[in-house]
């Protein structure tokens, strides 16, 4: 085995390698040459540009059998050629990003392309996308700032409550309660304990490391229940990876259950606040830094038109000043 490939393997070994690399698979990747033959896939000048990207992208799957690996090499080559033709930088994190893979898949003629699963597997192996991205429906992009409807939230809580695995049940319920009830999601979940729940003048609040959020009155009993799961220590157990993405895997591809999204849970909280509270309180409790950040939520606000109109006006002034 060449020294370069050995060092590359060592580098990959620390990452997500499916199985132990096979010597013959590594050799195949190193010697892959699609410029030969009558029906060559790629012309030599373009192959010179994309070969490093193709080999680097497929290397994490070197544990696969060579017959399987050829399909991955071809899929990656087609993606790399497309990215090169469209002027994208030939870097792993760019070419295997969620947006680019989706755009590539969408542009293939219907019925002519069958490498979608391979590409997502490659992206996953290279840690350029989350698990959620690879399993999401490719039809429409979910609105990250769209709040869950009452129906969706009910189904999500019901699904979480019915889980037989205690760890999963408690984790999922906690994520939902903190996200939809107090806008605490993603990294703000870390370090939140049962003692974080406190009161200010009769109102229930919960503190995270950078904010003190008012709990929605409807969610107070639910949050009390959730807090009882872990009376001592953090409400959600820290993991090496993104906890929300980890929990989202449990809800994907479940009939009738909306996919878990930390952003949408938080949007549920922010939109509820916008419908009931004044602007300054919304900013303080939601942890948003700028008025500009509220713009994305405004389309989903149905009630409290005075506050919303005020916000829209302020945003227009802000934009005008900036320009």
């Amino acid at each position: 085995m060449p020294a370069a490939s050995a060092s590359a393997l060592r580098a990959w070994h620390g990452r997500r390698v499916v199985t132990k690399p096979r010597a013959e698979s590594v050799a195949l990747i190193e010697n892959y040459l699609p410029v030969k033959g009558v029906h060559a896939l790629v012309k030599p000048p373009q192959w010179k540009r994309v070969q490093k990207l193709v080999r680097d992208a497929v290397m994490p799957l070197a544990g696969y059998h060579t017959a399987t690996l050829r399909t991955y090499l071809k899929a990656m080559l087609l993606l790399a050629m497309w990215a090169d033709n469209n002027g994208y930088p030939l870097e792993l994190n760019v070419v295997l990003s969620e947006n680019l893979v989706c755009a590539f898949i969408k542009q293939q003629p219907f019925g002519s392309f069958d490498y979608e699963a391979h590409l997502w597997r490659l992206a996953l192996a290279n840690h350029t996308v989350s698990v959620v991205a690879t399993t999401r429906s490719q039809v429409t992009r979910p609105k990250y700032l769209a709040p869950y409807s009452d129906d969706e939230l009910t189904k999500l809580i019901s699904f979480a409550n019915d889980l037989s695995n205690q760890h999963r049940r408690e984790t999922l319920l906690t994520i939902i309660a903190l996200g939809a009830g107090a806008g605490i999601s993603r990294n703000r979940l870390r370090g939140v304990t049962a003692k974080s729940i406190h009161k200010h003048g009769g109102e229930t609040f919960i503190s995270s490391f950078d904010l003190c959020a008012k709990v929605s009155p409807d969610f107070v009993p639910f949050l009390r229940e959730v807090a009882a799961f872990q009376p001592v220590g953090p409400l959600v157990q820290a993991r090496g990876t993104n906890l929300t993405a980890y929990a989202a895997e449990w809800t994907t591809q479940r009939r009738g259950v909306p996919a878990l999204s930390g952003d949408r849970l938080r949007a549920t909280y922010v939109v509820a606040l916008l419908e009931s509270e004044a602007t300054a309180d919304v900013l303080r409790w939601s942890g948003l830094q700028k008025l500009d950040a509220l713009q994305g939520y405004l389309p989903y606000v149905t009630g409290n038109t005075t506050t919303c109109n005020h916000l829209r006006k302020e945003h227009r002034c802000y934009t005008a000043r900036r320009n």
């Binding site: 090169d84 469209n86 002027g87 930088p89 755009a103 490719q138 429409t140 992009r141 990250y144 700032l145």
Partner: protein, 522 residues
């Protein structure tokens, strides 16, 4: 060509109709009478007789004056009377030549050097040359403009001069056609050198996606070769705009838009209300500058997030003898399509008081074509939308990235057009320009008007121009007839009782049998 009396009558009627359509004869007579300063015998050959005789001969591709007297003298007495031929001894060649000279002198003053010397000539040729078009030609407002070379019968050469001692003292120019001009051959040999005139014509083309319209000439200019070609094309467009009251697409080749500032053609066409559709020269392809942060490529504004590799796309060039390879064309158009998502989207335009236009363009990410980190709303676009390859990190003030919309004046984007240059839509739109080439080809065809060197054996811009205009009118008439033949005709009404289908006969027989309970009889 030999014609029966019936055919000849029809041709004469057609010729009179063409000449009366735009009052060509009246105009010539007015010019002659306005310039009449000498006394003498009244002219015996009428303008109508001469013009009708020429027009009928041009229908057959003959332009010779020598055959005119014989033609007129062989007409029946009634037609001769109608045409104003009263001389008992018949028309002579001298009379024909004399009247032709008079027409030339009253419409053109060779001693003048300003552009106004062509005013009368332009009116005369436009009246004569645009007649005969089909009525459906008015269904479109779009035109294609181009010029074609009309070689003169005259010659232009130099003769060596010697003094009394037979010593060479220089060259003397000996031009038998004083109005014609040389056009040198192209640098790459794509055009031959010739001595003669340029015929610039505006020809109807169908609207984009519109119905077929008859090919017809809307306006012409006849000038010495290489004389202000772009200005002549603009004059034709101006004529059409004035006649129609509006102007649609104006299709021209890259010769007319070779100036990067566009002040000589594209901007003026836009002021007239037209939309120029044109090709670009090789030196105009690629990045030509930046305006408010937008990259100007092939005349169009693009987002600065456009990757470098897509900024210059070379179009495939045809070989000397072979047509373009379709695969090469497809590859080129695919690249243009890949680049097109970065093009700023034309949102609206408005006309200023001076007639010039300003355009409002929208950022492609704001328009939903691109995912750009600087545009928050683009983050929610549907999955599969292309991400920007090279987005700027910050949006400079007053740049296209700073706001959803930016306004550009027409002068800032002189080479912009409706479709991106090189795209499939542009190619299909630009292909309509072939109509003008087809028209020139038709007129020069030996089987029809036969407008080529040797057919016309008169010299001078008016004489040649008038015969060329008559041949264009003849082409218009022929194309109008051809268009009329192509139109679907209503089905002829059948005679007698309508025929019944055998199945119906069978069904009626079965029903009748069933009702009467008798054996089936058909």
């Amino acid at each position: 060509m030999l014609h029966s009396q019936k055919e000849l009558k029809q041709l004469i009627a057609d010729a009179e109709r063409l000449l009366d359509e735009n009052n060509t004869i009246t105009f010539i007579e007015e010019c002659i009478s306005a310039a009449a300063v000498r006394s003498g015998r009244p002219r015996e050959l009428s303008v109508r007789a001469l013009m009708v005789a020429l027009q009928v001969q041009v229908f057959d591709g003959r332009f010779l004056l020598t055959t005119v007297p014989r033609f007129l003298n062989n007409l029946d007495p009634a037609t001769r009377r109608r045409l104003g031929i009263t001389r008992k001894n018949g028309v002579t060649l001298r009379q024909v030549q004399h009247l032709f000279e008079r027409i030339e002198k009253t419409n053109y003053d060779r001693s003048r050097t300003d552009d106004a010397r062509y005013d009368n000539l332009d009116v005369l040729l436009n009246k004569a040359g645009t007649a005969g078009a089909h009525a459906d030609a008015n269904l479109t407002t779009s035109i294609a403009i181009d010029s074609s070379d009309i070689p003169s019968w005259g010659k232009d050469c130099y003769r060596m001069l010697f003094d009394a001692d037979k010593k060479y003292i220089g060259n003397e120019r000996r031009a038998s056609d004083l109005d014609a001009h040389w056009r040198t051959k192209g640098k790459k040999g794509e055009k031959k050198a010739f001595f003669g005139y340029d015929l610039t014509a505006a020809v109807t083309v169908q609207e984009e996606g519109g119905p077929e319209v008859p090919r017809a000439i809307k306006s012409i200019r006849f000038r010495p070769a290489t004389y202000k070609t772009t200005a002549m094309a603009l004059a034709c467009a101006t004529d059409v705009a004035a006649t129609q009251g509006t102007l649609g697409d104006v299709l021209v080749d890259r010769e007319y838009t070779q100036s990067n500032h566009g002040r000589d053609f594209t901007l003026e066409v836009r002021k007239l209300g037209g939309e120029p559709v044109f090709g670009l020269k090789l030196n105009q392809v690629g990045v030509s500058g930046h305006v408010r942060g937008a990259v100007i490529i092939d005349g169009q504004p693009f987002s600065p997030s456009l990757p470098q590799s897509l900024r210059v796309i070379h179009r495939p060039l045809p070989a000397q003898t072979y047509a373009l390879n379709p695969d090469a064309v497809k590859k080129y158009e695919d690249q243009i399509a890949a680049r097109s998502i970065y093009a700023l989207v034309l949102h609206s335009s408005r006309r200023l008081s001076d007639g010039s236009l300003v355009y409002k363009y929208q950022c492609p990410a704001a328009a939903g074509k691109l995912i750009c980190p600087l545009v928050a709303s683009s983050q929610f676009l549907a999955l599969g939308t292309m991400p920007a390859a090279n987005p700027p990190k910050v949006a400079p003030l007053k740049s296209v990235c700073d706001s959803q919309f930016r306004t550009f004046t027409a002068a800032e984007l002189p080479l912009s057009q409706r479709h991106l240059h090189g795209s499939t839509a542009w190619r299909k739109s630009y292909a309509r320009r072939n109509e003008v080439e087809r028209l020139f080809s038709n007129t020069k065809d030996q089987a029809s008007e036969n407008l080529r060197r040797g057919s016309i054996r008169v010299r001078g811009i008016v004489k040649m121009g008038l015969l060329v205009a008559l041949s264009l009118a003849s082409t218009n008439r022929r194309l109008a007839k051809s268009y009329e033949r192509r139109q679907p005709k209503p089905p002829k009404r059948g005679r007698g009782r309508p025929r019944k289908h055998p199945v119906i006969v069978m069904a009626e027989a079965i029903v009748a049998t069933d009702l009467t309970r008798t054996p089936l009889r058909i």
